[in-house]
Amino acid sequence: MKIAIASGKGGTGKTTLSTNLSNFFAEEENVVLVDLDVEEPDSGLFLNAELISKEDKFKMIPKWDKDKCTLCGLCQKVCNYNAVIQLGNEIMVFPELCHSCYACSELCPTSALPMLSKKMGELKQFKSNNLVFIESRLDIGEEQAVPLIAQTNEYVDKHFPNEINKIFDCPPGTSCPVIEATKDADFVILVTEPTPFGLNDLILAVETMKTLNKIFAVVINRYGIGNDDVIEYCEKEKIPIIAKIPNSRKIAELYSNGKLIYKDIPEVKKQFENIKNYISKIKKDK
């Protein structure tokens, strides 16, 4: 089963939930944790796992072959992203704007724009007892997270069987990277905090999950601060709240040091048991 942890607002506790939940699962079964927040992958900071393998990830970009080019201008005409521009007697390619659609390359009548691979990031696999951890990391300066997220999902599908539980730590927001990270999930957990910002962004995340037809539930982090508006909203919308992780400085301190929180605090452990039970129920219903 694929479980995606997403949020809308950043900093609500996606990584905390992902790393703690996967370790909690790993006490009794094999589990795969995948960090899809490729712009700022942080899950690895909370794990003590051994590096097993590492590979570069590439995207395909056209490269101009001056000798073959007849300057017909078709490439510029078909590129919808302004990534291929004809300037005088030259064709310029802007790799950061390119979406690797191949149109310019394959429609070029003289094959003057062959596609070449360009590194965009790297994927690492780690292991610690029952837990396999996959981290993808976008190179700084690369604009598009989506191709790397898509390749990471392909990697996970290829290497791990369906039955095994997989937890995906997703990027914040509601735009294309989040869609790419959650679209194949069987179940999505939206992490929020009980504040006006938390609620505003939760509503956006809920709308996104509804558009994607996802089964989803809410976990409230830092429960006790702010107000009750998030709870009232979830009740009104009939969205299950499957755990409330209390607001506490002790938890913030454990987090700040890269420590897991469920082991030391019984109340938090109980909340993770609730989440695990809910996931088992969803799995059975499927």
Partner: protein, 292 residues
């Protein structure tokens, strides 16, 4: 006119609360651009009047005219995004997967595919309760092109600031290091990095600063919740020194952040509190840094 952008790498470090306080302090000297277009929160504190609202059209999606389609399958063959599955024996566009490249429309032998412009959201120009002008946006659910909407919001803010002779544009950026962040920092005069002393706060600060360096923009840093972890706070200080980033201020771990937000107020207007003076001094310091 100076352009100041507030970013953090990691989400939830306090960017928006701090930026909102700066807009309160800057008052009518300031045009604010909320460039966190996929989770915009600034309006919750500034209570803008949405004086002007415009639709944002940017991306395209392919559409197949089934009456013209001869089911040759060329479109699906060239599509690199698995966006043209066969459903009920018809080639159909999966709009979530379609990247709008238009390749399919070029290879269709019977011109059955057209590219349709999509509404990707709305953007607004507002007056706020602090007499500043706020340019903000709401990205359409699941829309692509947040980078382009960021550029739109920023360019509008710039235009207004120029026309009205304003001193500052303050930009609230989004988390991460990808296209919306790149879009919000390009062309800025000064970057304010808001971080926190946690393993992830430092890690994400280091990554986002690598990006800032590529743009050759001067930066300063505010450490929020500085007393949460003194060891990592020290490591952040060392990083700032090494990279020549100006240390602006330490803010203590303080639930005033949340309390003010819950009251719909900025920190600097929320009664007497421990953070207020530090934020006022930070704004003065940033103004000084930007001028030099």
């Amino acid at each position: 006119m100076k352009e100041i952008v507030v970013i953090s790498g990691k989400g939830g470090t306090g960017k928006t609360s701090i930026t909102a306080s700066f807009t309160y302090l800057g008052g009518k000297d300031v045009v604010v651009a909320d460039c966190d277009v996929d989770a915009a929160d600034m309006h919750l504190l500034l209570q803008p009047n949405f004086a002007k609202s415009k639709d944002f059209y940017s991306s395209e999606i392919a559409k197949i005219d089934q009456n013209k389609c001869i089911k040759c399958g060329k479109c699906a063959d060239v599509c690199r995004f698995n966006a043209i599955p066969i459903i009920n024996e018809q080639y159909t566009i999966n709009s979530l997967n379609c990247e709008g490249c238009g390749y399919c429309s070029h290879v269709c032998p019977v011109d059955a595919i057209t590219m349709e412009l999509q509404n990707d959201g709305k953007w607004f120009i507002s007056n706020t309760r602090f007499d500043n002008i706020l340019v903000h946006a709401k990205l359409g659910i699941g829309s692509d092109n947040s980078g382009k909407l960021v550029a739109k919001v920023k360019n509008e803010a710039k235009k207004i600031a120029k026309e009205k002779n304003k001193n500052y544009i303050i930009i609230d950026g989004s988390p991460g290091v990808g296209c919306p962040v790149i879009s919000s920092i390009s062309g800025a005069d000064f970057v304010v990095l808001v971080t926190e002393p946690t393993v992830s706060g430092l890690h994400d600060l280091e990554r986002v600063y690598k990006l800032v360096k590529k743009f050759n923009i001067n930066a300063g840093c505010i450490i929020n919740k500085a007393d949460l972890n003194l060891q990592i706070s020290k490591e952040i200080q060392e990083f700032l020194k090494k990279e020549d980033i100006v240390f602006i201020a330490n803010l203590p771990y303080d639930e005033t952040f949340t309390k003010a937000m819950t009251a719909g107020q900025t920190i600097v207007e929320y009664g007497e509190n421990n953070l207020k003076n530090i934020i006022i001094e930070s704004w003065d310091k940033i103004k000084e840094l930007v001028e030099n």
